[in-house]
C-alpha cells in the first residue's frame, strides 16, 4: 500500500547510494523535482536508467550523483546536446560515467521483461549495427520453432522507480494520462516505486487513455504540483520550451552550471512556498 508523504521523506526512504534508479517519463511527466531532491540529499554512485536522459539527468550527472547511465537517447530534445552528460562521458567531469547504451525499442523491452517477471525479452533489433559490440546486454536467441535468430535483451529491474503522474487518490492509487510512455512497465519492473503527483484527489475520475496503478504496487506518493517542470503534465501544465533552450547556456559551462546548482537546487528546500 502506498504511503502519502513529503518528497524529502519519500526520497530519503526509497533512494539509497548505489541504487539503480529509473527516473522515467517520455518527454511528458518527467519527475524533475524528485530528481533535484535526490541531488539535494547528496545521493552517490547511482546507476541511472532512462530512455531519454534529458535535463533531469544532465543535472543529476553534473551534480555527481551517477556512476553509470543506461540509456537510449541522450539529448536536449529540440535544442541539442546535454553538456553535463557529454562532459562526464568525454572528460569524466565531475566523475567518470560508465554508459550502457541501447535503442528505444531495446530499453523499452528490457522494462517489459522486468515487469513480466522474465529474465529477458525477445525482439527484432540491433542487427547489423555497432551497438552489440559495445553493449554486452544485447545477445541473440534462436526461435525453437523456426530456427530464426532474434535479439535478446535482459530484464531491467531497478531498485527504485521515480515517476510523476497527474493524480493519486488518498489510498495511493495513481492515475496518469496523455502520453503514458513506459511508466507502467517501469513501476512494475522496479522493487520500489515513488510517485510525485500534481494533486491528491478524493476519487480518481476515469479518463480516456489513462493508466491507473493500484496502491498496492506503489510505495510512496508525494504531492508536488509542477513537479514535472520544465516537462509537462497533460491537463495541468505546458512544456516550458524556453527553459529547455535556456538550459543549453546554463549547462554548457562548468562554472555557470555549478552556480546554477548552488542557487537553484542546493540553496533551496525544493518546497515551493
Amino acid at each position: 500500500m502506498a504511503e502519502l508523504m513529503s518528497l524529502p521523506d519519500a526520497v530519503a526512504s526509497l533512494v539509497h547510494d548505489g541504487d539503480t534508479v529509473a527516473v522515467e517519463g517520455f518527454t511528458h511527466l518527467i519527475p524533475v523535482a524528485a530528481g533535484q531532491e535526490v541531488i539535494r540529499q547528496g545521493r552517490r554512485d547511482l546507476t541511472l536508467v532512462r530512455m531519454t536522459p534529458d535535463i533531469v539527468y544532465d543535472q543529476m550527472i553534473g551534480a555527481g550523483c551517477a556512476s553509470k547511465l543506461i540509456f537510449s537517447w541522450g539529448g536536449n530534445p529540440g535544442v541539442g546536446s546535454l553538456h553535463r552528460f557529454r562532459d562526464a562521458v568525454q572528460n569524466s567531469w565531475p566523475r567518470p560515467l560508465a554508459i550502457e547504451e541501447h535503442s528505444h525499442a531495446g530499453l523499452a523491452n528490457r522494462y517489459v521483461a522486468g515487469a513480466s517477471g522474465l529474465p529477458f525479452a525477445v525482439m527484432r533489433g540491433y542487427r547489423g549495427t555497432d551497438l552489440p559490440a559495445h553493449t554486452d546486454t544485447i545477445r541473440s536467441v534462436v526461435c525453437p520453432f523456426t530456427g530464426e535468430e532474434l535479439t535478446a535483451v535482459p530484464a531491467l529491474t531497478p531498485d527504485v522507480a521515480v515517476l510523476h503522474a497527474q493524480q493519486a487518490d488518498r489510498a495511493g492509487n495513481v492515475q496518469l494520462w496523455g502520453i503514458t510512455g513506459v511508466q507502467k512497465e517501469v513501476a512494475l519492473a522496479s522493487a520500489r516505486v515513488l510517485f510525485t503527483v500534481e494533486e491528491v484527489v478524493d476519487a480518481l475520475e476515469p479518463r480516456p487513455g489513462a493508466v491507473v496503478l493500484p496502491s498496492w504496487v506503489v510505495d510512496a506518493v508525494a504531492e508536488v504540483p509542477g513537479g514535472a517542470h520544465p516537462s509537462y503534465a497533460h491537463g495541468y501544465s505546458d512544456r516550458d520550451n524556453d527553459y529547455y533552450r535556456s538550459w543549453d547556456a546554463i549547462s554548457r559551462d562548468r562554472d555557470t552550471f555549478t552556480a546554477w546548482l548552488d542557487r537553484e537546487v542546493l540553496g533551496t528546500t525544493g518546497v515551493t512556498p
Binding site: G75, G78, H102, S103, H104, R124, T129, H234
Partner: protein, 252 residues
C-alpha cells in the same frame, strides 16, 4: 516561384516523398515539419506515427517535441512506448520511416552515436533512440540531412542504423525486413541507392545547385545518375503552407 531557402527546398522535397494514405514513423525536427507539410498539402490522409505512442496524430501546430501534448490530443489512438515499437513498428506495419543523421556513408548507413572512437569520442552524440528499429522495420526509409563533407563520409564512425551495411545482401543477412533507405534528401539534391550496388547516387539537384557542389559536399567519389533531373522548385502553396506551419513553432 523564387525567394526560398535551401532549407525550405529540402523540407518541401521531403514532404513530396510521402504518398497520401501512407503511414509514416516521424522523428522530430525536419521530418516532422515535412510530414506535416505533406498532410497539409498533397497527403491529407497521411497517418503520422510518433515514437511517443501517438498513432494518427493531426497536430494543428508543429509539435515541439516527440511527446508534445498536441500529438496525444489529436491522435486516433495513444499507446504505450513498448506497444508502439512492438505492435506497430516491429511487424512492418509502417510504410515510411523518416530519419536524420550526424554521419551518413555511401551505403546510407547512419551514425547518431559518436564521432571518433566509441570509448574516447571526439563528439558524443545523443545515440540511437528509435532509429535502428525504424531503419530495420519500416517499409522504406527516407533520410533528410544537410549535405557536407563532415556529414557525408566514406565510412561512418559508428553504425547506429543500418542502411545497406557493406552492400548488396547485407539487409537480408541481418534479417531486416524493410527495403531500407530509398531516398536521401539534402539541401543540395536527392540521392537514391543504385539497385545493383546499393551505393548512393545523386539523382536530382535542387534548382540552382551545380553537380560540382554536391560532389564537393560528399566525402566519397559521388556517382551521378545519367538521367539527373532538377527538382521542381517549391510551389507558392507549398511555401505558404510551410511558412505557416513553421510560424506555429516559433518560440513562445
Amino acid at each position: 516561384m523564387t525567394g526560398w531557402t535551401t532549407s525550405e527546398m529540402m523540407t518541401v522535397a521531403a514532404s513530396r516523398a510521402l504518398a497520401d494514405r501512407a503511414t509514416c514513423f516521424v522523428g522530430i525536427g525536419k521530418p516532422s515539419t515535412a510530414a506535416n507539410l505533406a498532410r497539409a498539402t498533397h497527403a491529407p490522409d497521411l497517418v503520422l506515427v510518433y515514437e511517443s505512442g501517438t498513432i494518427g496524430a493531426a497536430p494543428d501546430r508543429l509539435p515541439l517535441s516527440i511527446g508534445d501534448g498536441v500529438l496525444a490530443d489529436t491522435a486516433t489512438s495513444v499507446v504505450s512506448v513498448p506497444e508502439i515499437f512492438n505492435y506497430w513498428l516491429q511487424p512492418g506495419r509502417i510504410d515510411v520511416g523518416f530519419l536524420g543523421a550526424a554521419q551518413l556513408d555511401r551505403f546510407a548507413n547512419i551514425n547518431t552515436t559518436v564521432i571518433g572512437p566509441y570509448d574516447d569520442p571526439r563528439v558524443r552524440l545523443p545515440g540511437a533512440g528509435g532509429a535502428p528499429e525504424i531503419a530495420a522495420s519500416c517499409g522504406e526509409v527516407v533520410v533528410v540531412v544537410s549535405q557536407s563533407r563532415r556529414t557525408f563520409v566514406d565510412t561512418v564512425d559508428f553504425v547506429t542504423s543500418v542502411g545497406f551495411g557493406r552492400g548488396p545482401g547485407d539487409r537480408e543477412r541481418y534479417g531486416l525486413r524493410g527495403r531500407g533507405p530509398t531516398q536521401v534528401i539534402t539541401d543540395l539534391g536527392v540521392l537514391r541507392p543504385d539497385p545493383e550496388t546499393c551505393e548512393l547516387v545523386l539523382v536530382a539537384v535542387h534548382p540552382g545547385v551545380e553537380v560540382q557542389q554536391a560532389r564537393e559536399a560528399t566525402g566519397w567519389d559521388l556517382r551521378v545518375a545519367d538521367d539527373l533531373v532538377v527538382t521542381e522548385e517549391p510551389t507558392t502553396r507549398e511555401l505558404e503552407v510551410l511558412r505557416a506551419i513553421e510560424a506555429t513553432a516559433a518560440p513562445a
